[in-house]
Amino acid sequence: MSVDGNPAALHLDRLAPDDGEITDADRYPTLTEHGRRMLDFLLQHPHAPLYRNRSGNRLTAEEVEQVRAFEREVQSAAAGWRPGETPPWLDGFVDRCFAETPFYRRYGTRPRDFTDLPTISRADLGRDVAAFVPDGVPTERLINFRTSGTTGHPMLLASLPPVAASYLAFYKRALRRFGVELTHGRGEVGVVLVGCQRTCFTYVSVTPAMDESGLAKINLHPNDWRDPADRARYLDALGPEIYTGDPLSFAALAELPLATRPRALISTSMALQPPLRARLEERFGCPVLDLYSMNEAGPVAVFDPAEDGHVLLQHRMYVEILDDAGRPVPPGERGEVTLTGGFNPCLPLLRYRTGDQAALRVVAGREPVLLGLEGRPPVRFRTARGEWLNNIEVTHALRPFALAQWTLHQSADGALRFRFRGDAVRVDAIADTLRGMFGADRPIDIGEDDFEEGKVVQYTSDLPEARP
């Protein structure tokens, strides 16, 4: 798609404003005529969806340069550290946390050993995120990101426009592992963020660091379209270089009769199972990246089949694996993924326990790799024989099935309820697998679910001993 040379008047006023105080000059401070044409094209296309919201890059010219410089740094810097050591930047980072960040200042004097530092969790961020904003950060440029709160701790996180824009640097780094260099620029659409939920925040924008290539965040749910057939027509007209989304929205995207091909799909938000990834790769004829990313830390790692794990992406992020008591586990053992560092100056993380489980492989001269990454704390399920199965065993057992998403819940009486979404899934085969694990006489209720509410907690149990 190219819109250059096809100037049209801006019709941004088609959209209902979300905030009376925010103007387009705030949303797109560096917008040129090319950018205006792109926005207009995205909004006015005859097959465009009903965009329900507005957002912008908010980057000043100085910040655009800052984002470009950071991108160069990300592309050239090595992520990682030597086995048994900590990265060289860590010491200064901890010093700055103690000197400048109110929450960490309350700890008192900095301990000599890094592993003596207290850990923090999502609950700490949720309690008062203002205490994590260092002294020097100017409040007038602050923006916020809301998290969904599926773990019981909804949060409003502080950030800055260049931080949001810098996600692109890590996406490029991840894409480079798969041989993809982004080239779309002026007059082209760089990325479409796809969702597929009953309600979804949708808008259009441009990316200044990519010469104002277009950005559209859309919802594939039919409610957002005048005609469901418009979805494929619109996306073909845009021809984005990249789609980002989650396994559910990609499963919906795969159903559309698209004629155009992206250069890559980037999946975030929830685990992407290998069969679905393979199916998407075949369908779209491009690499499908499974990104481990969170609002608190941005893109942390990307799954690389050659490494059989998620390779770390950030050069100023130190990852530890801790046991329940907060002690580092021996190398190679599983535990809780714990983060220090990051690229958000409003949220310096010092031993942030993510709630996600993995092992870590650190080899000199190579990027560290998270092995067997599992979101959320582990949940155990009891079999009819009274044995306990960790949720990772359930995940492994279900790997052969092309499931986009599933949940498993065990009631206090031991009965199991399994809900899934996925195409070409053999329910009887799943039932056989689950009965094989839990026992033939264990009641198992299996059914499909469209998971339209978005993120859900995958493994849950009413049994008090379920959390090991």
């Binding site: 004097t109 000599r112 602050l142 923006i143 502080a158 969170m294």
Partner: protein, 194 residues
């Protein structure tokens, strides 16, 4: 403060030379190295004072983030009170335990423990607080002189802490207001969503 104690400089010098063991991380849960309760117990025995397990319970700590600084101050105080002069003076447990407990917590609210070793004013404050709580004044000072100097040191520090707390609260309020003002679900573009 009725009785004359040691020369103040001997105590501040001792604080400046606090050994690594007393500056190490207090053990809280599975983390840290030094068991503060055990150190307090040893100190009390060395000073001829008795402590029950209940007396020592508060020196274990439960939450590193809330307890590590006060326990670190307790450890620095333990080093100070292990001085030969205090061993000879043998203050009673009824005075030692409040000094090592509540008083240490109060001091920890105002300063990182390390400052009581590295900062000359905080060293002097800690030495004077310890003497005062045990009923002594520095050698060569009248009761009024000792009281004046401690008040000057403590009130200046309290005023500084109060100013800093007010400034921190004001900034936190500004941050919260700025975030709420921009409470649209997303206020700048990202290429992906978590």
């Amino acid at each position: 403060m009725e009785r004359e104690g040691p020369v103040l400089e001997t105590l501040t010098r001792r604080l400046a030379e606090t050994p690594e063991d007393f500056l190490a991380e207090p053990r809280i849960g599975a983390a840290g190295r030094v068991r503060t309760a055990a150190v307090v117990g040893d100190l009390l025995r060395a000073l001829g004072a008795a402590a029950t397990p209940g007396d020592l319970q508060r020196f274990s700590g439960a939450d590193a983030r809330a307890d590590r600084n006060r326990l670190s101050v307790t450890l620095v105080l333990c080093w100070l009170l292990a001085d030969e002069w205090f061993v000879r003076a043998a203050p009673p447990a009824g005075l030692l335990l409040p000094l090592l407990g509540a008083q240490a917590a109060e001091l920890a609210d105002q300063s990182p423990a390390g400052k009581f070793v590295t900062d000359p004013d905080r060293r002097e404050e800690l030495a004077r607080v310890a003497l005062t709580r045990l009923g002594y004044r520095p050698a060569g000072e009248t009761k009024a002189q000792a009281q004046d100097r401690l008040t000057t040191l403590s009130s200046a520090e309290r005023a500084r802490v109060l100013r800093a707390a007010r400034a921190a609260e004001q900034r936190a309020r500004e941050i919260r207001e700025a975030l709420i003002k921009k409470a649209a679900e997303e206020s700048a573009d990202k290429w992906g969503r978590e």
